[in-house]
């Protein structure tokens, strides 16, 4: 008798809901990346210089780098809890393609750690005296860029899920990989200030997002199968 198992989409929804529920119950998974982003972004005026002219030059870069570091920090516990309590094995053994399960987990992770950073970025941009015209540019580019950080990061996390201490290795694997997005994001903000068209940059970032959205979960799924044995 063929087992009529649930449709992949409902399993996708179930995994997404479960992860959001876990995040809701464990508040500090949401607060930590968010606070980290605030703290790192506010260190730069102290470290570099408080004058608005100097700050506005580096504002875009500071915001993007802080968002990248916040995403890296949040990535560490992406699969860890599930690996330790055995839920990851259930995920691997489910009849549904692992691609969608990993995608669900990545989306849930981004909603918890990436989206708050994006939502608060205009406020921090104001504190870093970002030039007036580029608030919406920063917001949109971060909105397209931070998912790519967690998608790429999930590959590194999946590769090192079995290790105990893996913070550093995770950084060394993920940071170089996120350089293209960092470049596209910072350029989008800087170049639109002197007249470049915003649509061009958003198109490029959108392409990067789709590239990551389709390929990264494949690599993460393969990496999970390798690490969980």
């Amino acid at each position: 008798m063929a087992n009529a198992h649930t449709s992949t989409f409902s399993a996708f929804k179930a995994t997404l809901k479960r992860d959001l529920l876990i995040a809701y119950k464990r508040k500090n998974d949401v607060v930590n990346p968010f606070m980290f982003f605030l703290i790192v972004a506010s260190l730069f005026p102290i470290g570099v210089s408080p004058e608005p002219e100097r700050l506005s030059l580096i504002a875009a870069g500071v915001l993007w780098i802080s968002a990248l570091l916040a995403a890296l920090l949040a990535m560490d516990n992406l699969y860890r809890a599930d690996y330790e309590d055995g839920s990851l094995e259930q995920l691997l053994l489910s009849p549904h393609p692992l691609f969608f399960m990993v995608l669900a987990k990545n989306i849930a992770h981004w909603l918890v750690s990436g989206l708050p950073v994006v939502l608060v970025s205009p406020l921090i941009a104001y504190m870093l005296s970002l030039p007036d015209g580029s608030y919406h540019v920063l917001f949109l580019s971060l909105l397209l860029g931070t998912p790519v950080f967690s998608l790429l990061g999930s590959i590194g996390v999946a590769l090192t899920v079995g290790l105990g201490s893996r913070g550093l290795i995770l950084a060394m694997i993920t940071l170089p990989m996120s350089v293209p997005v960092l470049i596209a994001g910072t350029l989008a903000v800087q170049q639109t200030q002197n007249g470049a068209s915003l649509l061009g940059f958003l198109a490029i970032m959108g392409a990067m997002l789709l590239f990551a959205l389709t390929l990264a979960p494949l690599a993460s799924a393969a990496a999970l199968r390798i690490s969980v044995n």
Binding site: L159, T160, I226
Partner: protein, 245 residues
């Protein structure tokens, strides 16, 4: 052709074959390097713009271009190790990372020294140097993942996967750094290497140097692969016979 491919899988066969080829390779490498170095140091005419620093060109260009070959090499070896589960391919992936880091480090050092008199400072965030730097970081990531996962089958598959992902990334990084450089650089369209007309007396020693450094890359890789084979097959019969001699 297939028998050759499967024979390549047995480490002992590779160990014997490489043992026989090594002396010849070393001899060719020595000849190429000696001729190349002497020719480029002594006989290459001064460059009207850079003066005698074009000698650095003869070390930087071969090393930098071969360093670009490391990620594709690891990706191919990684794919073979993942798909056909060939132990030798995993040995190549493991051994190529440190050697790649050495090549990239020398390319970085010689590139920045070469740029000193044209840019006036030791380090400039020029497109080529920046992508070499990022390649160096990715290679260090490969090495650290390999050492973190000790040496099991899982480590082999994980590193093979990372090498494939790393190669795709290296391509994307290369072009995004180029794009970043063009947008930031005031358009001086001054590229360092092909600024003066290259007569044959310029590029012949370059080809010889390139050949010498390429042979060196092959030899060093083979030496390390042989060591790794001995380490992994240390319980095998043929290794203990070898050790007894």
């Amino acid at each position: 052709m297939w028998t050759w491919f499967h024979k390549l899988g047995s480490p002992k066969w590779f160990y014997d074959i490489s043992g026989r080829w090594l002396p010849w390779l070393v001899a060719c490498m020595a000849v190429c390097l000696v001729v190349g170095v002497i020719w480029s140091l002594l006989f290459v005419p001064q460059d009207y713009q850079q003066g005698l620093t074009n000698r650095i060109f003869y070390v930087h260009v071969p090393v930098a271009s071969i360093s670009l070959a490391f990620f594709p090499l690891m990706a191919i070896a990684g794919t073979v190790s993942l798909v056909w589960k060939m132990k030798l391919a995993d040995v190549v992936v493991k051994v190529a990372a440190p050697l790649g880091a050495w090549f990239t480090a020398l390319a970085l050092a010689s590139g920045s020294i070469w740029g000193i008199d044209t840019w006036g400072t030791f380090w400039v965030w020029d497109a080529r140097l920046t992508s070499l730097l990022l390649q160096f970081f990715l290679l260090i990531g490969m090495i650290s993942l390999r050492s973190a996962l000790e040496d099991t089958d899982a480590a082999a598959k994980a590193c093979a996967l990372l090498s494939i992902v790393g190669t795709i990334n290296m391509v994307v990084i290369k072009y995004s750094v180029l794009w970043w450089d063009v947008l930031h650089q005031p358009p001086t369209n001054f590229t360092v290497d092909n600024s003066q007309p290259n007569g044959p007396e310029i590029w012949i020693p370059l080809v010889i140097m390139f050949l010498g450094v390429y042979l060196f890359f092959v030899i060093s890789l083979i030496l390390s692969v042989r060591n790794e084979i001995l380490r992994r097959e240390r319980r095998a019969q043929w290794v203990s016979e070898l050790a007894a001699q």
